[in-house]
Amino acid sequence: MKVYVSGDAAAVALGADEVAAQITAALRPRSITVVRPGSRGYLPAEPLVEVETPTGRVAYGPIFEEDVPSLLPVLLEAGPHPRRLGRLEEHPFFVGQRRLTFARVGIIDPRSWSDYRDHGGLEGLTRARALAPSEIIARINNSGLRGRGGAGFPAGLKWKTAAEAPGARKFIVCNADEGDSGTFADRMLMEGDPFLLIEGMVIAALAVGATRGYIYLRSEYPLAIATITTALATARSEGLLSASFDIELRIGAGAYVCGEETALLESIEGKRGVVRAKPPLPAHQGLFGCPTVVNNVLTLAAVPHILASGPEVYAGFGMGRSRGTMPIQLAGNLRHTGLYEVPFGLTLGQLVDEVGGGSLSGRPIRAVQVGGPLGAYFPRALFDTPFDYEAFTAKKGLIGHGGVVAFDDTVDLAAQARFAMEFCAVESCGKCTPCRIGSTRGVEVIDRIRGDQDRAANLVVLKDLCETLRFGSLCALGGFVPYPVESALQHFPEDFQRAPQAAGPGHLPGRSQR
C-alpha cells in the first residue's frame, strides 16, 4: 500500500515536507511507502495527500502539519475527514480536462524509472526508433504541434530546417527559462515527469541528427533543478542517454531576456544574454554556430505522446490552427488556481469564471492578463475570446505560454502599464534602443499621465512610443510590451485619468537597470 504526499514546489512551499515526514514516521511500523509525486495540478488542495485504495486513489487536501494527527486515523481506510476530496478524477477541476502531456504528473514517482516505464513511458521513443528521421518529422508536422514557449511556431518545420542544415554537430536545446509571471507548467512537468522531457529531447535528437542536448533551467526553480539533475543521472545509467546523445543541464542567472532563444544560446556559450539579430535562424546557426533546435519544455514533452498514439490523435483536439491540448495555467486572484490541460477552444470566461471559480478575494474580476508580462490585459467584454493563438491575436492579445492571471476590481491598470514598461526597462538586454531607452521613457510618460501633467498630450506620446517599440525592437521583449500597455489604455482608459491608487503595485525596487 502506498500513500502519496505531493512533492511539487508549490506543495513544499506550503509545508508538504513536514507533512510527509510526519506521515512517514507514523506509518513506518506498518511498512507503508510514502511516495512524493509531482502535483496533480489543483493548487488550492496543496499540500495534497492521497491514499491507494482498490477503487483508485482517494485525495485529502489541503493537509497542513496540524491536520496530520486528525488525518492519520482515517487515512489508510480512506475514511471521512473534513478535507477529503474523494477521487480527483471525479472532481470538477479534473472532469473537463484532457491530459496528454500531464497524464503522469502527480501520479508517478518522478524519481522512479520503473514507474515511468510501467505508465507508458518510452513508448514514443520505441516507435520513433523504428522510423526514419524524416518520418518522425512528418508525424510532428501532421500533429499540428506548435511551439508552446510563446511564438507558436510549427515544431515540425523547425526540426526539418535543422535536420536539413549541414553540420557535424547539432544541438537540441530545451528552453526551461519559464520567466512569465503566471506560468508554472514547465516547472510542474520537470518536477513531476522529468523522464518525459528527456524522452522528448531524445526523439528530437533522432529526428534532426543532434549530438548533444542542453536544458537551460532558471535558477528560481531549485526543486526542478534537483529533480532534473537526478533524472539525467538515471537516464544515463538506464541507457536512455549515452555518449551519442547526452544532455547537459545549465542554470540561468535571473535574466528574463534569456528566455528569448538567441539570448539563451549566448548565455549557454558563457556570455551576456544579449539577443542576436535574425537571420541566421538558430536552426541554421545556433549554439556554438551549429544547427540548433530550441524548443520549450511543453513542446518537447508533447512529442512522446504524438509518436506513441499517432499524430492524428493529437491533431484531433483543438480548434482552427491551434491543434492538440494546451496546459493552461490559472493563476492570480482565482479560487481554483492550477494546471488545466484541455484542447484549445475554451473561452477566457469559461476558464476564469467556471474552471477558475471567480476571484479568491470575492470581489468582481476586472482584468485578466494572458500570456505573461508581455501579454494583454483583457476586460470582461473580451471573455468570449476562445483560447486559440489566432483568436487572441485578433483581439490584440496573445496566449504566450498559457498563463492566465486574474485581477479583481482593486487593480489599477495604469499602474500595471507602468509595471510592464519598467519590467521591460530592467530586463532589456540593451542591444536595441527602442527597448532600452523607449521603455524608460514609457515609465516617465506614464508617471506624467498619472500625475496629471499635460495628460492629453502625454497620452498621445505614450501611444507613439508603443508604435516605436513595436516596430523598432530587435526581439519580442520591446516588441510586445505595447500589448499590456495599449490594452490597458484601450480597455481601462479611466485608470489613466486619475491619480495613482494606493493599492496598485508600485515600482521595481532594488533591481538596477543594465
Binding site: A9, A10, V12, A13, L14, L43, P44, F64, E178, D180, S181, G182, T183, F184, D186, S219, E220, Y221, P222, L223, A224, E248, R250, I251, G252, A253, G254, A255, Y256, S267, I268, E269, G270, K271, R272, G273, F288, Q329, L330, A331, G332, N333, L334, T337, G338, L360, Q369, P373, G403, V405, A406, F407, F419, F423, P505, L508, P509, G510, R511, R514
Partner: protein, 157 residues
Amino acid sequence: MGHSSDFDPAEAARLALEHSHQEGALLPILHALQGRFGWIAPEAVAWVAERLNLSRAEVHGVVSFYHDFRDHPAGRQVIKVCQAEACQARGARHVTAQLEERLGVKLGQTAPDRSLTLEPVYCLGLCGNGPAALVDGRPYADLSGRGLARCLKGVGR
C-alpha cells in the same frame, strides 16, 4: 548563498575543475564560486578571467548582466520575495511591506549586521499559491495567509 567568505584560489580551482570539460563554462563556474563564497569578488573576476582566457572586462560584463551574480556580499540569509503580476494580484505588495517591517530591511537592501538580504524576484512558478518567496532556496507560498508565519520561522524570526 548565505555564507560569504574570503576568496580562496585553491578552493576556486577545485570548484572549477568540475566544469573543465564544459564548453562555455563561464556561468557554471560563476554559479559555483558564488555558491561557495557568497559573491563574485574582484579577485574572483580576475581569477576566472585568467583561467578561461578572457579579459576582466568580459567577465565583469557577464557578472553585471545577470541579476543573480553579486558584486558585493549579501547577508547570511537571502530572502527573495516575488513582485510579479500573479503575486501582485494576490497581495504581494502588502506582504512585501509586512516583510520589510518584520525583518527591518527594505526591499533590495541588506541588514546592517549582514544577517539578511531582502530582494525582489520576478516569478517563482508558485503563481497559483502566491504571494511567494524563496529563503536560501527554500520555497514559501501563501504569504498573505498562513505562509507568512512559516516563512518568518524559516528566517528565524
